[in-house]
Symmetry: C2
């Protein structure tokens, strides 16, 4: 039995543990990095989905939070965060109604890539007598939402600027696919390529005579490059606060400290069966650890391998001979993908210096609408 | 725009739709199959996690429900289901305390595969003055929890039978790996092999002079074979009620009606960006459709392909030329794996004959403890 885990005997399993010392370390590391480059940090709440974590980010210097969905923004606003950017287009009557409602009590920004959506936002904001900040999303290589680099961003920006109720704020350009490229050099080349695409659109907007104070984007992997590049004015990293095995493989600094972030997020699992000498079954499966990023790893126990064994089961084996795990013993797993794992849990079991501090509600869990 | 989906314009997306006509059809089909073979049906609640669905199963003939975890059982009991089998070992002080609490108001059965667990259950049941039904789990090929086929089940059964507070009820033998074998003939051979292993243990228990009324196991895929085999007395199918694309590929009857079950479960998604002529982006990603079973498929629109494009994005393309989807249009997706997709949602949007009936809470969503 891992002595460190004796401290969590009152926490039932599976549980999502969050080490607050390391959370603060990670928040401060990226906040300092952004500040020293004169950039603003607007961390992405989609990673932690917890307003208590978001409030720490803001207390320590973030200008607000990003949210992937409106439901996430509603949860963060209810938790006291008052400056929010929804990084996905908000489409349709039902959602626009919710957005203008939210804009009555929080400063709301949203991205757009379509004329009809701009018209609908303008009309709804007017009817509700609110103002909404709008950024045009540019596809800088993600091949998802967003307009193509070039004059299109300026055309949409002009349309936004003509609305009395919408305020054009700038452009968003996010390239998710390059975030996990392990080599800092390879990643830097890809980031420069993506940001060159964003600059084409930024130039177009400015050539149209529009004020464009914000260029937002970036993630945990591009962060060390973004802070030196000077294209983005606001950075959106999310995973840096919780981390996972995918990002643990990504070099995040060039100063010799290539892995400057801690790993605060773990899953506490219990052994529920010992069917054979070399195998233990634990109570974590696909319903308590996401698999879209691969397999979770076993923390602090070299040679132990976790494999999924169903919705609610995982299998542990040892590559180093004997398996010293008894029925009821606990182990910690490191999620392969933090965002989708956090989305499976209602709360974090928060600890500091090895002691349980309490449970924090993950208010935006499941808020995909 | 799909005319059928115009009926759900008041339902925000992503939403999990459940067609009640088809749910009832599926429930009745398997209930009749079990009854005509003289077998009991104890459907697995891990698929739907919703007590309202569980109550329909019981109203239509099920003897109770299976639950994968104690938290699922607590949710079903709170929803009025009073006869529950927890199909995973319940290990440790915290969980056993919850089990005996539950046994004060519901008839609780649990599986075991370990002496120390039997002793702990017996002691806790005695202290709380409750009775708990106990089944010994046998590993019939799943290579997960359970004792090896042979005399070991009889030894544990005798230990259970000696406890005043535990009642030995029988054996559980579940082989999950064969459930999705597409060919009925290939699957039948594997089911017979697994059930032969269970019979070895059943014989051992009976040779020890113990009453062993229950042999429980089976799933949606093995069901058509189990009802003809006569080894199991209680069947545990789960997915049959909601279905998914994995089970749609599995032949489920030999009478010419190889696909006798409907597909009641779908995800309602909205188009949120049309970045290119051949591509639409929808608001469903890894956080609203599970990926452990592969890709969801697009319902009723041949040639359309869904691919994951991140936590909250999916990409739709057409293999048949033009893509007739406008911003705000809705499509329905069929989950690849029902259990893990249901576990992402707080409620079903329930409809019947094409009309929305209301929302049913998925009370056991996330109840992995």
């Amino acid at each position: 039995m891992n002595a460190r885990l004796d401290r969590f005997t009152d926490v039932d399993t599976p549980a999502l543990l969050l080490d607050l010392d390391q959370v603060e370390h990670n928040i401060d590391r990226y906040q300092r990095g952004a500040a020293s480059a004169g950039l603003k940090l607007r961390p992405h709440a989609k990673a932690h989905k917890c307003s208590a974590v978001g409030r720490i980010q803001i207390e320590r210097g973030a200008v607000g939070l990003c949210c992937a969905k409106l439901g996430e923004a509603e949860a963060m606003a209810a938790g006291g965060v008052r400056d929010l950017l929804v990084t996905t287009p908000v489409i349709g009557v039902l959602k626009i109604r919710r957005l203008v409602e939210l804009a009555k009590s929080a400063r709301m920004a949203v991205v757009v890539d379509d004329e009809s959506n701009i018209a609908a936002l303008s009309e709804a904001a007017g009817a509700a007598d609110v103002q909404i900040d709008v950024l045009v999303e540019v596809d800088v290589g993600q091949a998802r939402a967003g307009v193509a680099p070039g004059p299109r961003a300026g055309e949409l920006a002009s349309l936004v600027a003509r609305s009395r109720r919408l305020r054009f704020r700038g452009l968003q350009g996010y390239q998710g696919k390059l975030q996990a490229v392990a080599s800092l050099g390879d990643r830097a080349a890809l980031v420069r390529e993506a940001m060159a695409k964003l600059r084409v659109s930024l130039d177009g907007v400015r050539a149209a005579g529009l004020d464009c104070p914000v260029a937002t984007g970036g993630g945990t992997g591009s962060f060390p490059i973004d802070i030196g590049l000077g294209t983005l004015t606001e950075l959106q990293p999310g995973s840096y606060v919780t981390m996972d095995t995918a990002y643990a493989k990504v070099a995040l600094a060039s100063d010799g400290d290539a892995h400057p972030l801690g790993q605060p997020l773990t899953i506490l699992a219990s052994v529920i069966s010992r069917p054979a000498a070399g195998k233990a079954i634990v109570d974590v499966g696909w319903k308590s650890a996401s698999s879209d990023g691969g397999l979770p790893s076993v923390k602090d126990q070299s040679g132990l391998i976790f494999e999924f064994a169903g919705d609610e089961h995982g299998s542990i084996r040892s590559t180093a001979g004997e398996l010293n795990l008894a029925l009821g013993d606990r182990i910690e797993l490191i999620p392969s993908h933090c965002d989708t794992t956090v989305n499976l849990y209602d709360r974090f079991a928060v600890h500091r210096s090895g002691r349980l501090e309490g449970f924090w509600t993950i208010e935006a869990r499941g808020k995909s609408q």
